[in-house]
């Protein structure tokens, strides 16, 4: 290591917040000096953990040759709260609100996955009306998550305007959540066995009003970006990943679909009331940042389609299945996963027959998808790292748990 990098080394130690930066750098010592394009020293710099474009506290160590990225290493764990450990010390019901705090921009999806997993373990099923309410709220949450993603992703790349429009429109969704369950972000909307709350008077009208308001807005976002020359130049061909690499790296969600794999758990292994609705799985071809943008835009349109169908034929009936007051699932293991806005969100739960889960493992989509960052940015420019972090749509609360 040359003198130049040694100074960086010491600097990083200082910023490492307790994490030993030295060993991380050793992993990045890749090339010989004569391989560098500019014939200058390789530079190792720190991006984050306090950086507005990392969407939380993510630290990325970049090995650079001028502007070109030679390698990256993600340092995560700054938001680790030990959610899986907490689960072992709570009853099944008590742990339910904790899952909302993982992917906090899509709390409803987290809750749905957890509740359905425990229901499977208990061998009960939510009544049809509850399933419809679940689908409506989960899809609304997918919209909210994608809207937040688009706003911040565009902001990272330099388009400030969309952020304001998207936050304005996301607000309407959060208002529906607030009226439904009192919370806007960490909703805790579902209970094991169904939903705790019946829909409020005027829920359907509110949702339809939002659908009429929100759908044309997607065209407006697209008008701002889809053919915008700066947007296209910053995203086309950036952060390419092939379908093969996606599968090998376990990448799921819109990132996988943008690489051309038509796979969505809502279709592949349907859950809740999804088999009853018609919708398409949008896919891309090139697996670049631009295609991922297009896929998510199409996905939002499909969500509108699903919600409209669900609201129009929401059945009457109870919203809770018969659930024992004290939940003691029989001894056994279950893995249940759903299509969260970020990808496959899975819960692996082990029951020992007591009131508390013996082990809860969360398979977080953001964590696994983030692993692909290194592959996606190698050989690209520093500015593209920002674009790729944005397009992966990670939430650090879920990466670190």
């Amino acid at each position: 290591m040359s003198n130049g990098t040694k100074t960086e080394d010491t600097k990083m130690r200082a910023h490492g917040a307790g994490k030993d930066a030295g060993s991380y750098i050793s992993h990045l010592e890749l090339g010989e000096k004569d391989q560098t394009f500019l014939d200058s020293d390789e530079l190792i710099i720190n991006m984050g953990p306090q950086h507005p474009a990392t969407h939380g506290v993510l630290r990325v160590i970049l090995k650079l040759d001028g502007e070109k990225v030679l390698g990256t290493e993600c340092v995560i764990g700054y938001l680790h709260r030990g959610v899986e450990k907490i689960a072992e010390h709570r009853t099944y019901t008590m742990f339910n609100p904790y899952v909302d705090r993982m992917d906090y921009v899509a709390a409803v999806s987290n809750g749905l996955g957890y509740c359905e997993a425990v229901e499977k373990l208990l061998n009960i099923e939510a009544p049809p009306r509850a399933k419809y309410i679940r689908v409506i709220l989960t899809e609304l949450n997918r919209l909210a998550s994608h809207q937040l993603w688009l706003g911040t992703h565009a902001l990272d790349i330099g388009a400030i305007t969309p952020l304001f429009y998207l936050f304005r429109d996301r607000e309407e969704i959060l208002k529906i959540f607030e009226r439904y369950c009192g919370a806007r972000l960490t909703t805790h909307a579902f209970r094991i066995g169904g939903c705790q709350y019946e829909t409020y008077d005027g829920f359907e009208q509110d949702v339809i009003k939002f659908l009429d308001f929100g759908l044309p807005k997607i065209d407006e976002y697209e008008e701002l970006l889809t053919t915008n020359r700066i947007w296209v130049e910053r995203t086309k061909g950036v952060g390419k990943i092939s379908a093969q690499d996606c599968i090998a790296l376990g990448v799921t969600g819109p990132v996988l679909r943008a690489s051309g794999v038509k796979w969505d758990l809502r279709k592949a292994q349907p859950y809740a009331a999804y088999p009853e609705f018609e919708f398409e799985i949008p896919i891309g071809q090139n697996g670049d940042t631009y295609d991922r943008y297009l896929v998510r835009m199409q996905e939002m349109r499909q969500s509108f389609r699903i919600i409209r169908q669900a609201v129009s034929k929401i059945p009457e009936g109870p919203i809770m299945a018969k659930v024992p007051k004290v939940m003691k699932p029989p001894v056994g293991e279950i893995y249940h996963s759903i299509e969260a806005p970020k990808g496959e969100l899975g819960y692996f739960i082990v029951s020992d027959g007591s009131t508390q889960p013996y082990r809860v493992r969360v398979r977080p989509p953001s964590f696994v998808n983030l692993q692909a960052l290194d592959l996606m940015v190698r050989g690209q420019l520093v500015a593209d790292v920002i674009a790729v972090i944005g397009t992966l749509d990670i939430v650090l609360g879920e990466v670190d748990r």
């Binding site: 764990g77 599968i247 748990r401």
Partner: protein, 159 residues
């Protein structure tokens, strides 16, 4: 599929069954690497969904180590489980599925299970010099590496 695996490994496949509609099998730790390789190469389990562990301190072989696999071609899942004792290690599945890299690091971080041949086995969520593996059952819920907290955060307790 199971028939062929059983034919090749005989008693190495300890159990293969279905619980609540989900397939799983229990495999001897000595053949786990080959079994996983065969599942990917010959049975299309091309997507490794998750790798995780469960700790049973009262057992002689304290850890259940699990692979959750998915086949895109057949839209099917399987859980592969093996049991290992404390201190025992298994071959890394990183060469089979690159996604195993971080997943195994997390298992190492939380349980202290080592994976032989892993390219970069170190802690991932906790600080590198943290002591203890929190998801072990003998690790208390409010337990922490007090020395680390004192030295690095300059406070008496993180609780």
């Amino acid at each position: 599929m199971l028939g062929r695996l059983k034919q090749r490994y005989g008693s190495g496949i300890r159990e293969a069954s279905t619980y609540l509609g989900q397939n799983y099998m229990v495999v001897e730790a000595s053949i786990i690497s080959q079994a996983l390789q065969i599942l990917r190469d010959e049975h299309d389990f091309d997507y490794c969904v998750d790798i995780t562990a469960v700790h049973y301190p009262q057992r002689e072989k304290q850890f259940d180590l699990l692979w959750i696999l998915y086949s895109f071609a057949r839209n099917e899942r399987i859980r592969v489980k093996t049991m290992i004792a404390d201190g025992e290690s298994v071959p890394s599945s990183d060469p089979i599925w690159p996604t195993a890299n971080w997943l195994e690091r997390e298992v190492f971080d939380m349980f202290g299970i080592r994976f032989d041949g892993h390219p970069d086995l170190k802690r991932i969520l906790l600080p590198e010099d943290w002591k203890g593996h929190p998801l072990r059952k003998d690790y208390g819920i409010i337990q922490q590496d007090e020395e680390w907290v004192k030295v690095n955060l300059g406070i008496e307790s993180g609780q």
